[in-house]
């Protein structure tokens, strides 16, 4: 509503009904569509905003004992006695507008890992020294079938091995020169933006895997957080 006009009325004029109605009609019309011209910089404060524009969703497991141990070379969801580390968003999922950023993070404490095959890359045998985490998103489009997408992967090392030499430099009969790194924390965050409309997020899971099934990954406390900033 940029302008509300008034007609100047001078002494001895007899205003017409149209002239008198004019400013009020203009205001009625213009006030149905207030725009930037009517808003001063910095005019909008917290009290003007709709509540719950930001939302934190989380699953936190503060237990000091270990989760179900992981020997799988494909991703499995962290699990404590049948309770997975995941955030669920209810039937049908939570609608996330197209391109709206969704912050997702995982954190936890790796504990007493068991390491059998620890050397680093050798002759194309992969990287048994590594384990990795993944944040897996389950979603549907317009209520359709559930689909999944990885929001990211993050890798860590079981031990300090950094070469192709499995053996100690001084004591070649020892099983490994790599030193186990137990009780180390992990933490990571990513931003996911749905590239399509009608995106409904159903679930976020924290998953992990090892690169050699002779090694065992153990984790105690762990958590995932999701932060949605509504537009």
């Amino acid at each position: 509503m940029p302008y509300v006009k008034t007609t100047p009325i001078v002494e001895d004029d007899i205003p017409t009904a149209s002239q008198l109605n004019g400013p009020y009609n203009d205001l009625a019309t213009a006030s149905a569509s207030i725009d930037t011209d009517n808003v001063a910089s910095g005019a909008i404060t917290f009290n003007h905003l709709d509540a719950n524009f930001n939302a934190l969703y989380q699953y936190e497991d503060s237990n000091s004992t270990n989760l179900t141990a992981i020997n799988s070379t494909s991703y499995v969801t962290l699990d404590r006695g049948g309770t997975p580390t995941e955030i669920t968003f209810g039937p049908g999922g939570l609608p996330i507008p197209q391109y709206q950023p969704l912050r997702i993070s995982g954190t936890g404490l790796v504990t007493n890992t068991s390491i059998v095959t620890i050397w680093d890359f050798v002759n194309g045998n992969g990287k048994p020294n590594l384990y990795a985490f993944q944040l897996l998103i389950s979603y549907n489009i317009s209520g359709g079938a559930t689909q999944t997408v990885s929001a990211g992967e993050w890798g860590y090392s079981f031990g300090t091995a950094s070469s192709t030499d499995r053996y100690s430099t001084l004591n070649t009969n020892l099983p490994s020169c790599s030193i186990p790194i137990c009780y180390q924390t992990f933490q990571f965050e990513t931003v996911y933006r749905p590239s399509v409309a009608n995106f409904n997020i159903e679930k976020i899971e924290l998953q992990a895997k090892v690169y050699d099934n002779t090694n065992t990954l153990r984790i105690s406390r762990n958590a995932i957080h999701a932060i949605v900033g509504w537009r």
Partner: protein, 251 residues
């Protein structure tokens, strides 16, 4: 809803003061308090229309319309270290059953929530636990937590989801001590297998400690800090990152 004029002027009708005042009163009320969200044209507001936040350089916090952000960042320089010591519990320095948590300075702040809020706290720092000189050398584990004190009730809470350990850094030699703490930095695997990699041994127990904690807090004042139960005579963190994000939920 938009302004609606109560009285319509008609040619030939006698205008009363009441009629005139009713239109002016309605206009006054509308422009003062009657504008609602629906009156704004779609996508009419820019970010500059939202009130600017304020930066507080003393506490390193920035207030925004929808919350606050606090950031504490320290460099690896020696003068930025936050030290911890087991000397605060002289006869029980390496006890696995007695806990005395000491705050690590500049790993937190006091926050004042004007409204109920979701709070996200992030911490990350390398912890160094030096070799004990008087006490025994046994890869001692110093336990670290996030601790929050609610200043309205003076209740202190440590959160298990931020549990982490810093281990005494023992240079490896032909004599390898057993782990004496509650947890073993090598997970029970004998460190003797690392002979020949002595330099690696010391740094293999150095840990980066990182965590994120989410909270739903009611309006009020809170002290937030990282605390540690030291089992070494001298330990410290140098480079540290500590941020608090406050997302107000309702007004």
């Amino acid at each position: 809803m938009p302004y609606t004029k109560p009285y319509t002027y008609t040619t030939g009708a006698t205008l009363t003061a009441q009629n005139q005042n009713s239109n002016d009163e309605a206009a006054k009320k509308y422009v003062n308090q009657g504008i609602v969200v629906g009156d704004f044209a779609t996508e009419t507001l820019d970010t500059e229309d939202i009130a600017r936040g304020e930066f507080e350089p003393i506490t390193k916090s920035h207030s925004f319309v929808t919350g606050h952000h606090h950031g504490g960042h320290k460099t690896p320089r020696a003068q930025d270290r936050a030290y911890f010591t087991s000397h605060i519990k002289p006869s029980l320095q390496v006890s696995n059953t007695y806990f005395a948590y000491q705050p690590l300075y500049e790993t937190g702040t006091e926050i004042n929530l004007e409204y109920d809020a979701d709070v996200i706290i992030d911490f990350g720092a390398p912890f160094i636990s030096e070799l004990n000189v008087v006490q025994t050398n046994e890869w001692w584990d110093s336990l670290q937590f996030l601790e929050i004190e609610d200043l309205s009730s003076n209740t202190v809470t440590r959160y298990g989801v931020t549990r982490a350990y810093s281990f005494e850094e023992i240079p490896l030699s032909s004599s390898i001590p057993a782990s004496g703490g509650s947890v073993d930095p090598f997970g029970g695997l004998p460190p003797s297998s690392v002979l020949g990699n002595e330099p690696d041994g010391k740094y293999a127990v150095r840990r980066w400690i990182g965590w994120r904690k989410g909270l739903s807090l009611t309006a009020g004042r809170y002290l937030i800090r990282s605390v540690i139960n030291a089992k070494v005579e001298e330990g410290y963190t140098s480079s540290r990152n500590f941020t608090i994000e406050i997302l107000y939920k309702s007004n």
